[in-house]
Amino acid sequence: MSNEPRPEAVPDGYALAHEATRPVAKAAGRQGVASLVPAGIRIRRDRSGVWILNVAILIFLAFAAPNFFGLGNIEAVLNDTAILGIGAAGMTILIIAGAFDLSVTAIMGLAPIVGLTVAGNDSGLLVVLISVLTGASLGLVNGLIVTRGRVAPFVATLGTLFVFGSIGAIISKGNAITVTNDLLLQLGTGDVSNIVPYSFLILLGACGFCHILLRRLHIGRWIRAAGSNLRAAHVSGIDLRAIYVAIFVLSGALTGLAGIILTGYLASAVATQAPNYNLNTIAAVVVGGTSLSGGEGTLLGTVLASWLFAVVNNGLILLGVNSYWQYLATGIILVLALALGLLGMGGKLWPLSGRRAQRSGR
């Protein structure tokens, strides 16, 4: 992903003080599974799990379900990837900053409902705009509760999860709002030359934007600094309140966008249209190699993980397996990706070193 020279191992605390410095493996040499990869290809250690699983599952599907690689099917998988990935992109930035947003499930439902209630089915563009703005303002509420109300993000957004979800149900009276607008339907199901759905292009745009934000702008360095050591970031004069409000707004806006795409895909808006979206996006972010303790993570990993979840769910359907296996598969992927990530780092699984034991807290 980057051609700039890798610095030598640096002390942990120093890693964020310099833009060129990336969180790197302490040991310079390749260890574990990573040593099998040719020297020219560089795979970040945290992401080795998601790469291995992606390759393994695609090879398996090539033999077990050849129709997986049909054009229509790939499009469906890309669409699923996009709906999960757009929200997960915002969640990636939040988790890198050491925050969480559990309320995305509710924003996914509420934003399109507000959009459709205010603008109706006449102007698709207006509905999209209002949905994104609603998502952004809900994110603003989250951000203000966290920064001005001094509530930890986990519980603050847990509270707003209930509040936003309830407001969505109240506005829609618990019913579904039907979508007839052509632009909205196209947004959810349309594609370019039968392969790439519009939603996937939006995902690429969103992730590109987040990547630039995180890696090429000052705010990205501040975000990573906040996630890596809050107190140090505060002492060094970073305006943490502004940062947290900004990333909650960004995450809310992206979630609102994902919500209206899902609404277009389903051709109706329901307050509970994306159950478990909060936990699924967090799972995608974690499988993509972003550390829950904050400070490090990448958008590429998140996209790969979203694709992995979409492929597995789609593959299970193609194999004619009972859809209930999806839940088991999600859990197994989560454990496997993280365990493989550890092996790829050359780490051993047992016994724990002191540092690993420390990390296992949360």
């Binding site: 930890a152 509270g159 149900a169 936990l279 303790s293 088991l328 598969a329 699984l349 296992s360």
Partner: protein, 315 residues
Amino acid sequence: MLGAESAASVIALIAVFVIFTLLNPRFLTSLNIKGIVVSASISTITGLGMTLIIAMRALDLSVGSIMGFSAIVAAQLLAAGLPLWLVIFLGLLIGAGLGLGNGVLIVVLGLPSFVATLATLSMILGGELLITHGETVTIHSPEFGRLVIGDVLGYIPAAALVALVVFGIVWIVFYRMSFGRHVAAIGGDIGAAIGAGINVSRITLGAFTLIGLCAALSGLMTGAELQNADSTIGAGSELTAIAVVVIGGTSLMGGRGNLFGTVCAAVLLASIKAGLNVANVSSLYEDLVFGSILIIALMVDGLRRGTRRKGMLVV
């Protein structure tokens, strides 16, 4: 034992009772109070386990799935004709086993508890659906139901006694045994805990087994009360349980746990839910009130602490 946070919970509880009684005197009927006590008892039991886990600076997201799984297995075993005591024993054993499984994932693979239990949340839910095929399993066992909603000593629902016993056990484990001190020590500063020679792996396994047991008991009680079991039992209750613990005054930062606060918060939320019902408010508004209480309670707490430590963001 009655700290500032607990006092606040008790005052809030009294205020809620007064307000709802003024709104509608039917709030104080014995049937309504009994409903509050049963539902509060069930959420208290999971909440007590969660208090220990949060005091250890960990989280368990799989409690909802464990609740559903144990209820479903119990329903299946009852239908197969096993005696009630054996079914309850096996249901609890399964909960403890699943909790231990969480602990093993955390200790052996070194996964953060959030991720490990997120994975098992999904896996156990998948297991539930594969067993039931998404259908409801009925429980035809009045004596099982009486163990939860039956009256003891005239007025008190049996569920309250069960919750009281669990509270007593968890209280002794947490405040009077070295295990509880070690749990709090790990939550306070895991590095210092390791340095002090605490066996972090053993304590982690123990704490997760305990919450698995608590969750299974809640699940069995829910199944017994409803006289049926399906995968919706416990769905989402992991987040509710965390909310109850946090409203009860236990910080997610770990190191301390307020068991009495958790009980108060569970009773508070159950009475608000019943009160809204009696006051004829649509159930769509329930979550609105619940979420607002969570946010307001924490904002008041945060601002109170903020006056002492100005300038530092609480994240």
